[in-house]
């Protein structure tokens, strides 16, 4: 089987749009609310989840024939926990400020439903390459929602993007004010709702 057969491509692209983990399966919402008050942590969080999902998928897929089905959840957790620890250490070494911002939510990737869902539903039944593509797809599907939400929350809540001021000073002098509600998790939930709304409206038209 070729590396980019239609089936493999599908494993990669479905979670990006048609079966998106956040807006269709509504998984991983807690972290989507918690880390998106600014754009930078949202991007880092999305990438971390992508990396962890991809490699956890590969490892579990390689082990899938030897894992006894009774203790498979434990084995999956051990693999995920190992990867999360590695990612967390890398973040602390190379992006300390962001890892402080993300604080406990990096560690909580272990409990992210997207990971367990992909391991159970895909990696236990498919080969390593397909699982890798599926993991990358799912992670990126999660990441782009976070980036969209983080973009609007940082833009409207703080007037900045990635820490740089975007809204000019003259707007503030004319009476514009940052929307304090955007920095609250409640508004993130409403924004995720809006993304789901837009997604369903576009998907229905197709």
């Amino acid at each position: 089987m070729s590396l980019f057969s239609p089936k493999n491509k599908e494993a990669f692209t479905t979670p990006l749009w048609k079966d998106n983990p956040v807006v269709i399966q509504v998984l991983g919402i807690c972290s989507a609310l918690a880390v998106t008050s600014q754009l930078e942590p949202a991007i880092v969080m999305g990438l971390s989840v992508t990396v962890i999902t991809a490699f956890a998928n590969v490892i579990i897929s390689l082990l899938r024939k030897t894992i006894p089905s009774r203790i498979r959840i434990v084995v999956q957790l051990v693999v995920v926990a190992t990867l999360v620890t590695i990612v967390s250490q890398v973040l602390k070494a190379f992006a300390y400020d962001v890892s402080v911002q993300l604080s406990v939510y990096v560690g909580l990737i272990i409990t992210n439903c997207i990971l367990m869902g992909r391991l159970e539903a895909f990696a236990m039944m498919n080969g390593p390459w397909e699982s890798f593509l599926d993991g990358v797809g799912s992670g990126l599907g999660y990441a782009w929602i976070l980036v969209v939400v983080g973009f609007f929350r940082e833009l409207l809540g703080a007037g900045t993007l990635l820490g740089f001021q975007v809204i000019p000073d003259c707007a503030y002098e004319a009476g514009y004010m940052n929307n304090g509600m955007m920095t609250m998790p409640a508004m993130a939930l409403i924004l995720v709702g809006c993304v789901i709304w837009a997604h369903r409206a576009i998907s229905k038209e197709k």
């Binding site: 514009y176 004010m177 929307n179 304090g180």
Partner: protein, 387 residues
């Protein structure tokens, strides 16, 4: 004459080139004239008035409070500028000039969204915004900028109303959602001591005040532990700083009388809000900590200060978001009153608790109804089974 105008315009909208705007036409026609059509399917229990007439009645009931609010705006502007000899007309027309743009913005944005949604879904235009559009400018401080008002109106119409299915389907009172949005999004413009008096002059009316001028509401003073500078008479007549429509108890009482006389608002809800508030305030009087100035406020001052009256009369009685069962209304109202006082006294960050109390109970209204309906069903079942 109006009827002739609508009749002559009708073909343009039903068949002609403007047929895309049929719902807009329909909305205006039924607003101006009572429709002579009746519902064509199902059984409907009808009063002689439809919901547009109810809405107009509520807007009429709001008028005294609104007019007084305009006068109050002018009064405080003149007071703050030291012009104590300003005439009544001067103060009122200044208030009118400040208030009118807010009302226009509120209606333009809110009705605009309603019209667009109605066109889009091919439905009739729903009239619920008539009341909300008048309420929203009245429950914000006078210093709220117009663009913030527009954003809040858009937010509340879309997220509190249209996504639940439009007028009559909403769980939360749209006007209060607009205020809550402003309250959480722009806290510096919604509370504190610099938003209650207009500082700019409008069209040559009123007085320009320095930017640093501050004036706290009585509740704000109490929450900050300062002595209240308003006496009981002005609390009652409403000559005190506060959100535009909420200050005058007399004007609100006239509105309440209109609502009760026309049978739109429920006296059960209204009375129980006041009872709940009074009892809770008395409780805090007797056990309140000595260093908490709000807890020491006598109960009658609690009831005439802030948005308590306005909320009890115009917000808690909203037929859509309050309880439908008659016994439920007592509980619903009582807890609103009690919660409002509890928030005032126990939360130092929020001098006023009426908005949050009503929104909170909006959420529980269906639950209260559910228990009363079920208990009715059980009682009747028991009666039928005993025969």
């Amino acid at each position: 004459m109006l009827k002739k105008l609508f009749d002559s315009l009708r073909p343009t909208f039903t068949e002609g080139k403007l047929s895309a705007f049929r719902s807009v036409f329909d909305g205006f026609e039924t607003f101006a004239l009572v429709p002579d059509t009746t519902s064509k399917c199902g059984v409907s229990v009808h009063d002689s008035i439809d919901s547009k007439r109810i809405m107009s009645m509520v807007v009429i009931a709001l008028m005294p409070a609104l007019l007084f609010g305009m006068y109050n705006i002018g009064y405080w502007n003149a007071q703050a500028a030291g012009a104590t000899d300003a005439s009544f007309l001067e103060m009122f027309s200044f208030g009118l000039a400040v208030m009118l743009p807010k009302i226009i913005v509120s209606y333009l944005v809110g009705l605009g969204i309603e019209f667009i949604v109605a066109q889009w879904k091919h439905e009739e235009i729903q009239e619920g915004y008539l009341v909300s559009g008048m309420l929203i400018p009245m429950i914000v401080p006078v210093g709220t900028p117009l663009w913030m008002l527009a954003v809040a109106v858009a937010f509340s119409v879309i997220f509190a109303k249209e996504i639940f299915g439009g007028t009559g389907m909403n769980i939360f009172n749209p006007a209060l959602v607009a205020r809550a949005f402003l309250f959480f999004a722009y806290p510096t413009k919604m509370s504190g001591d610099s938003v209650w008096v207009t500082k700019d002059s409008f069209f040559g009316l009123g007085h320009q005040l320095p930017d640093t001028f501050t004036m706290a509401t009585p509740l704000g003073q109490a929450a900050a532990g300062q002595p209240i500078s308003t006496d009981l008479t002005s609390m009652f007549t409403g000559l005190m700083p506060g959100s535009i429509g909420e200050t005058s108890v007399i004007a609100i009482m006239i509105g309440a009388a209109i609502l009760l006389w026309s049978g739109i608002a429920s006296w059960r809800t209204m009375i129980s809000v006041f009872v709940g508030g009074a009892l809770t305030a008395m409780l805090f009087n007797s056990v309140g900590a000595a260093d908490n100035a709000v807890a020491q406020l006598p109960w009658y001052e609690h009831l005439v200060l802030g948005g308590f009256c306005f909320g009890a009369v115009f917000m808690a009685t909203d037929p859509v978001t309050s309880c439908r069962t008659e016994k439920g209304k007592y509980i619903y109202g009582f807890i609103i009153g009690a919660l409002a006082i509890v928030i005032r006294v126990l939360n130092p960050g929020y001098p006023e608790g009426m908005m949050l109390a009503i929104l909170f109970m909006n959420m529980f209204a269906p639950l209260i109804d559910y228990f009363f309906v079920n208990s009715n069903i059980n009682r009747r079942l028991a009666r039928a089974n005993n025969k």
